[in-house]
C-alpha cells in the first residue's frame, strides 16, 4: 500500500532506523560509564572516608550502595551479603531494566554526586543556559556567515581576496583561545564587559527589565567568542559550495539560454544551501550537548559543565540523563534534516519514486 505513498514510506523507513539507533545509543550510554573499574561509591568513599575506622567505612559504604540502588536487598530492605560478607551488587542487566522502567515513567533518577538532587532538576537548570548561550549564536552565525560566503563566491575580486583569508583565520582559531582573548581585552584591560557569569551578582533571575538587561550585557563576550568563529566557518563552506555551483554545467547552460542573472543566482544558492542547511540542523541538534569550554571560561552553568562533572565522578544517573537528552535531540535533528532534504531536494524524491531508498 505504501508503494503509492513514497513520502510516507520514506518517513516510516527512516523513523524505524532512527528508533533502532536510539535504543542502541541508550544502551551504549548506559553501559559505557559502567565499563570502567571505578564505581561512584568508591570515588565518594575515597574522598570522604579519611580517618574512619575500617568498620565505620564499611558501614558508610554499604549505606551509599543501598541508597544509590546498587546492591540487592532482602524483603525487609536489608542488604544481602555473600559468603565473604560482601554486599551482593545488582548486575548491570538488572540496573538496565530498572533504568528503562524508570525512564518510561519520566524518572531519570537521583544524582549520586549532587545527592539528593534529581537528575531532571540538574538538566532543567542547565538547559536554558545552554540554549541561551548557543541558539542565537548558531542561528545568527549561520545566516551572516552564509550571506557573506555567498557574496564572496559571487563577487570574488578584492572582497573575496581579503574576506576569505580572514574567515579562514577566524575559523581556525580555537574558540576557547578567542574567548580568553576577548575576556582579557574587553574585560580585564578595558573593563567594558563582565568576565564571567550569566547575569550580575546582585540580581535574582526574574522577568524584569533589569535582569534581562544584565543577562544581555553578560552575554556579549560569550556570544562573540562563538559567533565570529562560527560565521567564519559557515562563510568558508558557503563560498566553496557557491564557487563549485558556479562552475557546473547547468549554470553554463542557463547562461547560454540567456536567463536573468538573479534567476541563475537563485538556482545556485538553492543548491549550495543544501549541505549548509544540514549543518545548521545538526548544530542545533548537537547544541544541547553544551559548549563545554565556553561554559567554563565564562562560568555559564550549562549542560556541558553538568556533563563534565558527572563524568569525572562517574555519576551514572546524570550521565545517562544528559546523554539521553543529547541522543534524542541529535536524532530528532537528523531525522528532520532527512525529511527536509527529501522535500527540498527533488533528486531524493525522484530517487524514491524510482524505487530507491
Amino acid at each position: 500500500m505504501l508503494k503509492q505513498h513514497p513520502t510516507a514510506r520514506f518517513i516510516l523507513q527512516r523513523g524505524g532506523w532512527y528508533l533502532l539507533t536510539f535504543f542502541v545509543a541508550v544502551a551504549i550510554n548506559f553501559l559505557l560509564p559502567r565499563l570502567g573499574s571505578a564505581n561512584p561509591v568508591d570515588i565518594i568513599m575515597g574522598r570522604s572516608s579519611s580517618g574512619l575506622s575500617a568498620e565505620a567505612a564499611k558501614e558508610k559504604e554499604e549505606s551509599y550502595l543501598k541508597e544509590f540502588g546498587l546492591v540487592k536487598l532482602d524483603a525487609s530492605g536489608k542488604i544481602l551479603h555473600n559468603a565473604a560478607g560482601k554486599p551482593i551488587k545488582r548486575s548491570t542487566l538488572e540496573q538496565f531494566g530498572n533504568y528503562v522502567l524508570m525512564t518510561f515513567h519520566g524518572d531519570l533518577g537521583t544524582s549520586f554526586q549532587k545527592y539528593p538532587k534529581k537528575v531532571t532538576d540538574v538538566i532543567l537548570q542547565a538547559v536554558p543556559w545552554t540554549i541561551a548561550l548557543q541558539l542565537p549564536t548558531i542561528v545568527l552565525g549561520w545566516i551572516i556567515g552564509n550571506v557573506l560566503g555567498a557574496l564572496a563566491a559571487y563577487k570574488r575580486g578584492i572582497f573575496d581576496k581579503i574576506f576569505f583569508p580572514f574567515a579562514i583565520l577566524l575559523n581556525s582559531l580555537p574558540f576557547f583561545v578567542f574567548g580568553m582573548l576577548l575576556v582579557y581585552y574587553f574585560s580585564v584591560v578595558l573593563g567594558w564587559f563582565p568576565a564571567m557569569g550569566g547575569y550580575a551578582g546582585e540580581l535574582i533571575p526574574s522577568f524584569s527589565l533589569e535582569f534581562l538587561g544584565s543577562a544581555a550585557y553578560h552575554y556579549a563576550l560569550p556570544f562573540f567568542s562563538i559567533f565570529l568563529i562560527l560565521a567564519g566557518g559557515q562563510a568558508i563552506g558557503m563560498r566553496s559550495m557557491g564557487i563549485y555551483e558556479l562552475g557546473t554545467d547547468y549554470v553554463k547552460y542557463a547562461q547560454w539560454l540567456g536567463l536573468k542573472e538573479s534567476r541563475i543566482l537563485a538556482y545556485i544558492f538553492r543548491n549550495a544551501m543544501l549541505p549548509q542547511l544540514t549543518g545548521l540542523a545538526l548544530s542545533i541538534g548537537t547544541m544541547i550537548g553544551g559548549a563545554l569550554i565556553t561554559e567554563m571560561i565564562f562560568s555559564y552553568p550549562g549542560l556541558g559543565m553538568a556533563m563534565l562533572t558527572a563524568i569525572q565522578n562517574n555519576d551514572y544517573p546524570v550521565i545517562q540523563g544528559v546523554t539521553l537528552i543529547i541522543t534524542t535531540c541529535v536524532l530528532i535533528a537528523n531525522f528532520s534534516v532527512d525529511i527536509l532534504i527529501g522535500f527540498l531536494d527533488p533528486r531524493v524524491k525522484a530517487g524514491l519514486q524510482m524505487g530507491g531508498n
Partner: protein
Amino acid sequence: MRVTKLSVSGLPVALTVALSLLAGCKGNSAKDAGGFPRDQTLYLGGSQWGDPSTFNPLAESWQAAWPVGDRFNLMYEPLINYNSQTGQVEPLLGSLVSKSNDSIVIELNPAAKWSDGKPVTSEDVKFVYDLGRKYKDAATAYVTEFISQINVAKVGNTERLSFLVDKKGRNNPLVILDLLQAVRIVPAHIFQPLLDKNNGDLSAVKKLKVDSVPVVSGPYNLKTYSNQKIVLERRDDYWGNAALHAGQKPGPKYIIHPIFKDNNAFAIALQQGDLDASQTYIPRISVKAKDGVGTWYKKAPYFVPGSIPMLIINVTKEPLNDKAFRRAMAAAINYGDIKELAVSGYANDLKPGLIMPAGLEAKYYNEADAKAHAVAMGAASAKKILADAGYKSVFKADGSLDYMTDKTGKKLPSLSIKSPAGWSDWEAMIKIAVKSMREAGIDVREGFVDASLYWPAKPSGDFDILMDKPSASVTPSLPWSRFEAVMSSRNWAACGKSMNENQGRYNNPKAADYNPKVDSLLKAIPLLSDESALKKAYAELNDIFLDDQPAIPLVYLPEQFYEFSTKTWTGWPTEKNPSAPPQLPWVSAGIKTLWNLKAK
C-alpha cells in the same frame, strides 16, 4: 563591488565598535543595581564550585552546599571555635571549661538561641552527637569511636556537657577537641519530628534539602540560591551579637558566593573588585596589590603555611620497599624549584620531616635533631645512596635516563606518581619532582589520572606513589593527625582492601621488621599534656619518619589561599592586624572578621 568596505582591519574595528555600543548602553550601571547594594554586600568565593545540591546540616559534608557542612560557621555553629593563629579555643555556642584525659567539659552559652527563638540546649547537642549511635549512616557516626557518653549537669542556669573519652575505643581526647569545633549543632526540635514523621528513617531525612527558611543559630541565614550563586542575609537578632560581640552586628547585610567554574574567574573577579575575598590559587599575587588585592603577609610567602602536600610511597612495591631507595628519592627532589615555580613562592623553606617549622607546630620542631636524621640533599647524595645500595641507572646516549637495575642486575619497573589530572598546582609540583629524580637516575614518571580513578586508588593502595595532602585543615590535633595519617598501622590492611590512613602500607604489624614504637607513640601523644614529654615524643616520631621515609613532603601550603580586596570592604585581618586567623570569614575563628569589616 557593493560590499567591499569590510577590510581586514575593518572587522576588528567593527567588533570593537559593536561591543563598545553594547557596553555603552549598559555601562557600569549593572554593577550597583539590584536588590543587594554593593556597600552592604560581601562577595566571597572559592568554596562552592558546582550547583548547590542540599542545605541539609545532616547531609555528608561533601554533599552539602556552602555554607552548610565542613567547618563553616555562618548558618550552623559548633560548640567551640579553634583559632589556628593563636592555638586558643574560643567560645561559640559553648565554652571550654576543662580538658583532661577522661573528659572534655563544655559549658553551653545560656544566651544561645535558634532563629525561631527557642534556646540552644543540651538536647540539641546530644541529638546530633548521638545520631551516630542509632544510625550508622549518620554523617557524625564516627564520633562514637571517640566519645563514650555525654553527661549533662546543670550549674545555675547554664548546662554543662561532659564528653567522656571512650577509653576502650580510640582513647583520644585530642580528636574530641577536633570534633567539638567540627560538628555543627542542629535544632533537635526541628529534626526529631522530621525523623519521627519518616518512621525514624534517617536517609529519608537526609534527602530533604532544608533550603527554605531553615532554623539556624548562626549570624546569617539562607536567602536564595541558584546555580549561579548562593545568597545569605544577616540575622539582626543573632544571639551572639550581644553575647559574643559587645552588641555589634556584622558589617555586611548580605553575603553572596558566586559560583564560577574555574580558578581564573575568581582571580579576575577579585582583581576587578567584584569579589571581596577568595580562597583560590592566584599566581603572582604581588602584582595584584595595585588593584587592592591583599594577603596576610605583604611580602613573600604572602600566606601562612598550614598543610603539606606529599608523595605517599607504597612500601609494598619493589624497589620502594627499600628504605635506601626512598631516601634517595627524597634527596634528589629539588624542593627550591617546587616552592618557587609550582607555588609561586607562597611557602616557607621546607624542613625535613612531618612537623611544620612555622606557626603553632614550630615548638615541636627540633632543627638539630631533624638534621641528624634527614638524608643529605642533592643529586650527588641521591646517586651515592643508590650506588651504595647497589642500584645502577642506565642513561641513553642523549643523557636521559633509560632504566634502572637493582643489585642483582634485575631491571626495575618504571614507577609512576598518581595524581588527579587537572589539579594544576599538584601537577606542577610532580613535574619538577620527576624531573629532578630522573636527573639523579631514579626511574619515576608522572601518572596524572582522572579524579574518578585517583580517589578509589587511594584507600586501596593501588599506586606506586600517590600525591596527597593529609590533614589539610588546621585543627587542634596537628601535627599528631598528620603523623597518624601517614604512619599509623592501627587499621592495617593489605593492598586491595581499604585503609583510610597510611595508604602507603608502612610498618606492617605482621612483618618481621615491624616497629611497634610508631604505633605506641601515636597512641601516647594524644594523652600527653606535659610539653616537654610531647616535644620528646614528636621528636622521636619525626626521627623514625626521616629514617624510614614512608612519604616525601614536597612543600608547605597555606590551609587556605586567603586573599581579599579592599575595594569595597576594609578591616581584613593581616599580619599587622591579626584580629582573626588567615581564613575566609566563614571558616572557624575566621568568622570574627565579619564584625570588623567596614564598607568604604
